[in-house]
């Protein structure tokens, strides 16, 4: 393997940062908007839905899809930056 120990550690740290920022969004839309704060959000109308209900039954799934795509793109960039891509 061509990558140095320092680089490997720096790569891993950045990787963790990316994962945690995306997982924070994941947590907020599903557990936050869809469960914990659903009643508060339901006071807000959203294209014929109550916003909390929409997040719980549809919105969170759309966000999940977007998150994985964004994550895959970010990681491809990170792999190139540290020259660890295949």
């Amino acid at each position: 393997m061509s990558i140095s120990k320092e680089n490997a550690e720096a790569y891993w740290k950045e990787n963790l940062k990316i994962i945690f920022s995306y997982l924070a969004v994941w947590f907020v839309v599903s557990y936050g908007c869809g469960i914990l704060f659903i009643e508060q959000l339901n006071a807000i109308p959203f294209f014929g839905f109550q916003l909390g209900f929409w997040f719980a039954q549809q919105g969170s799934i759309f966000v999940f899809c977007g998150l994985i795509v964004a994550y895959a793109v970010s990681m491809n960039k990170l792999d190139e930056k540290y020259d660890v891509h295949e």
Binding site: M1, Q57, Q58
Partner: protein
Amino acid sequence: MGTQDILNFVFIGASFALYIGIAIWAKAGSTKEFYVAGGGVPPIANGMATAADWMSAASFISLAGIISFIGRDGAAYLMGWTGGYVMLAMLLAPYLRKFGKFTVPDFVGDRYYSNFARVIAVICTIIISFTYVAGQMRGVGIVFSRFLHVDINTGVVLGMAIVFFYAVLGGMKGITYTQVAQYCVLILAFTIPALFLSFQITGHILPQTGLGATLDSGQSILATVDQLSTDLGFKEYTSGNKSTLDMFFLTAALMCGTAGLPHVIVRFFTVPRVKDARSSAGWALMFIAILYTAVPGVAAFGKYNLIKTVNGADGNGTAYTEMPEWFKNWETAGLIGWNDYNGDGKVQYAAGKAFTGKGKPAFDGENRNADGSRVVTNLVSEPKAVGDAQYANEVYVDRDIMVLANPEIAQLPGWVIALVAAGAVAAALSTAAGLLLVISTAISHDLMKKTINPNISDKQELMYARLAAIVAICVAGYFGINPPGFVAIVVALAFGLAASSFFPVIIMGIFSKRMNKEGAVAGMIVGISTTMAYIIYFKFMGGTKDELFMGISPEGFGTVGMILNFITAFIVSSMTPPPPEEIQHIVEDIRIPRGAGEAHAH
């Protein structure tokens, strides 16, 4: 035999011919092809195969019905069964792909340098997969019996024969490419009726936006369903009944369970590179989301349609003789039952059980009343109106109706009904095949090759894999014909076990270099035993609602088991020596994508 039966035969028959053709084309020649399809599946194809593998007969037939009946709380299933893919993509799939072995027990055994850990993982794999597959084989039988009018057992045997063909012959390679075809069949079969239904009720083509639509009455569809529900004594559709804590734990258990299910994880071993594992998780979720985001619409429209049709425009009931054809067809099939308690000749639907026991009708053979309806024997003695309802409930409606009867409700042509039949069969078969493969791999690879006799050749191992697949199909078929009690608790058990065993162990194996075998083994044992004990106590030994731990339902207890697993593992590992140097190198290595190459055995 009617024209519809012939159409059903043609569609299901043609789909089978396609699957068998693919199986012959994709015959596996080595263990690597049998276990991970040679490690060369393109990410989009793997995404489709994962989606088909993931979406079972329950997703296809029952999910919309469940949500239709429980309303907002159904979100736990919608989010739980999709959100797990975010964790898979970010926390598991890329690293397991880099690790580059064939199975989940492979990872557990190697990372924790312990055959004991491997054997526990094999046992968990087999329990999880068999619980799951028994329900699938039953599902295949039920679908056959409904659409082809054969006996359920004949249906199970037919399903076994088809799965046998492509799982035993083609292994993962055969399964992957048949699953791609099965995905296409099932997604068309689900979306075509859903689009028509949405358009007819809301004027929106997409059920996703149709759910937010405003009806001609000036009220939104959701507000209308809320109103209809409360008028009939049901709970409001858009409010929740479960406690916030229970919803939280249930969703978490389903998400972590999804990310820890062996038959899902193993799909990510089949792609060529680490970056393909990430992108194929994205594809998989998008393919799944096409169905899952349409489901809430189908559920609400189904409820609206059902109430409007049964109770009529004036809300006082529709005369049985005026009922549309689909109502009578599905009554004949046993999914709808009616008894005219108030003797007005009209069918009335409201909250409350129309029949004794679980509320399902017990039909008096083929005997019919004067109006042509079927005679039901388990009548309630004093039917009462519930809540705000004006009348007592007279109807039993099986939740599966919401999807199965859609094409007829939307008055779509016969070929759409036949397509739904083929789609339901595809959904059940694709999941069954994926599970059977995981079982056979666990036996031939993890037990035979890695634990009992490491000296067997690749050819012998492949033969064992095929033999194990045959045995697994027979056992699954037996459970399909004689369904054991545990089929009903399949969700709780399979997801609870995956969440409380594999999920934490794999996460710790990747993200902690310090985690050692003592910690992992102790964590797994504590996680599984508490979860199993809780589920068995509440599902089999008659545990009551007041005894629930903090009000958490058995389905959501996997989350508690998972937390206990993490805590135990960290405490035990901090008191025992760190893992050997070479294990720490393995962990460092799986964190870097370069050099994944192909999945290898050694």
